[in-house]
């Protein structure tokens, strides 16, 4: 079974709200940098940066955005086929003393964010690290929480949440699959 949970306009509204919350929480955008976690955290980070720039004209959206590939920090490398390593690019000013907002599409077990925090530690010493996600589907396995959430989405563990974005997939949508019919299956 497939269901579309968020459409394009829902995603746009959620991101706009998060952008405002980021500015609000940090009393402006002067020390904000955004780090997107590939693949889909990256376009989300760019969209957030543009929205922040729309409110705060001094904020250079392109220069304040980076990509944080966390492959080499994962704790499950030995349980999966070898992953390709993506690029990590930092904002021009680096991470030292900045407020780093990590951006990802789906917030699930927390292990990705744990890896990202380890990676950040090797790249600089930010003033603070905050987390923005489009969807929080629950089932945390580590004591990690999000600061900014687009949509809280209660799910079963067997379900699969897919975030589709214009930049990577040609459309904006959040879908959930495997609901109900997987419940009776033993895996």
């Amino acid at each position: 079974m497939t269901g579309t949970i968020l459409g394009a306009s829902d995603i746009a509204r959620a991101l706009t709200r998060i952008a405002h919350e980021i500015i609000e929480r940090n009393g402006g955008a002067h020390s904000i940098v955004l780090l997107g976690i590939p693949t889909r955290g990256l376009p989300l980070a760019h969209r957030l940066a543009q929205r922040i720039a729309a409110v705060e004209p001094d904020f250079d959206a392109a220069a304040r955005c980076g990509a944080l590939d966390i492959t080499m920090y994962r704790d499950d490398l030995h349980k999966q086929p070898t992953r390709s390593i993506g690029a990590t690019t930092l904002p021009a000013q680096g991470l030292d003393d900045a407020v780093v907002v990590l951006v990802d599409d789906v917030f699930h077990t927390g292990r990705t964010i744990r890896a990202a925090l380890d990676a950040i530690k090797d790249l600089g010493r930010p003033q603070a690290v905050q987390l923005a996600v489009l969807v929080d589907r629950g089932h945390r396995e580590l004591p990690i929480r999000a600061d900014f959430v687009g949509k809280n989405l209660p799910t079963a563990r067997t379900e699969r949440v897919s975030v589709l974005l214009e930049e990577t997939d040609g459309e904006d949508a959040v879908r959930i699959t495997g609901r109900d019919d997987s419940a009776g299956e033993s895996k």
Binding site: D69, M72, Y73, L77, H78, K79, Q80, P81, T82, R83, S84, I85, G86, A87, T88, D118, D122, L123, G124
Partner: protein, 319 residues
């Protein structure tokens, strides 16, 4: 990938994946903290039956920067020098829980033997076997060429480039590894060597052959010239008679400033080291702005990090 034994085993996609991974590894080496936790808990054994401090420390640095534990096992002063067989050494390493063995051996095929004989189960990384292969050297050479000579390197091969390998191809594992990899990546290879230092059957290798560096420079637009090390003693001593004298070799095959200036403006000068200055290459060529010889060394660490990552990071038994 389970093992890295020969560049002949690499498809174009495999090779590009290693080079792309190397790029990311190289990027991490510009950071203040260069150590990554990726291979924490893995054990890499450097098993060197032949002295090569350069290669050993390059692999050691690569493994350590990925947080692997490194055990150095040199032939000298160990049980190996007391006549222990490769098999018994392998069984010992297996018992010690080696996840990967980086092997340098004087015998061609030793790495493949270690990987396929059932003596041990870990990954085997060939760091040079006799006169056969030295795949990470070829990969770091390709990485260096791609970086300098290809407009958008990531994801690209070396199509359209012409690379000259100059010197002793017969005894060179560097040449064998490079020729196979360069062909896979779409480059044209020109081998420049006296006929005495070419293997029988090279006409079937799919390379262009030239018997003088001047002729090669006349006939080809060479984007990268790679000088191979000449082992002086081996070449003219002991009745080997591969060429009459070092002086004659230098006259016909040495790279000096004048010959270097006949390369196109973007052309680069390479050497796998260690160099015989004054024999195959002059100081002017080796130290010129075109020379990427020192950079080859630093790229070696990134390429070896990539190889270790691709062999060791994934699930066991999954490609």
């Amino acid at each position: 990938m389970k093992h890295l034994l020969s560049t002949q085993d690499l498809s174009r996609e495999d090779a590009i994946r290693i080079l792309d991974t190397s790029e990311q590894m190289a990027a991490t080496q510009d950071r203040e903290i260069r150590k990554l936790p990726t291979l924490r808990g893995k054990t890499v054994v450097n098993l060197f039956f032949e002295d090569s401090t350069r290669t050993r420390i390059s692999f050691e640095a690569a493994a350590k920067r990925l947080s692997a534990d490194v055990i150095n096992f040199g032939a000298k002063g160990s049980s190996v020098s007391k006549g222990e067989s490769l098999k018994d050494t392998a069984l010992t390493l297996q018992a010690m829980g080696a996840d990967a063995v980086v092997i340098r051996h004087w015998a061609s095929g030793a790495a493949e033997r270690l990987a396929t004989s059932g003596w041990m189960y870990g990954s085997v990384l060939n760091a040079g076997d006799g006169t056969h292969q030295h795949p990470t050297q070829a990969l770091l050479d390709a990485f260096t060429m791609r970086k300098h000579l290809v407009d958008s390197p990531t994801g690209s091969d070396l199509a359209g480039l012409t690379v000259a390998l100059v010197g002793d191809v017969l005894h060179s594992r560097v040449a064998r590894s490079n020729i196979a990899l360069l062909k896979t990546l779409g480059a044209t290879v020109v081998v420049v060597s006296p006929p005495t230092l070419l293997p029988v059957g090279i006409s079937q290798w799919g390379v262009k052959i030239s018997h003088g560096l001047d002729a090669a420079l006349d006939e080809h637009q060479i984007d990268a010239v790679m000088m191979l090390r000449v082992q002086r003693e081996r070449m003219t001593g002991g009745g080997a008679q591969f060429f009459p004298s070092p002086e004659e070799y230098t006259r016909m095959f040495g790279l000096d400033g004048d010959r270097m200036r006949r390369l196109p403006d973007h052309g680069i000068v390479m050497h796998p080291g260690p160099m015989n200055r004054g024999l195959e290459i002059t100081a002017e060529a080796a130290d010129s702005a075109r020379s990427v010889i020192v950079e080859q060394v630093s790229n070696g660490v990134a390429v070896r990090m990539a190889a270790l990552y691709l062999l060791l990071a994934g699930e066991e038994g999954v490609q």
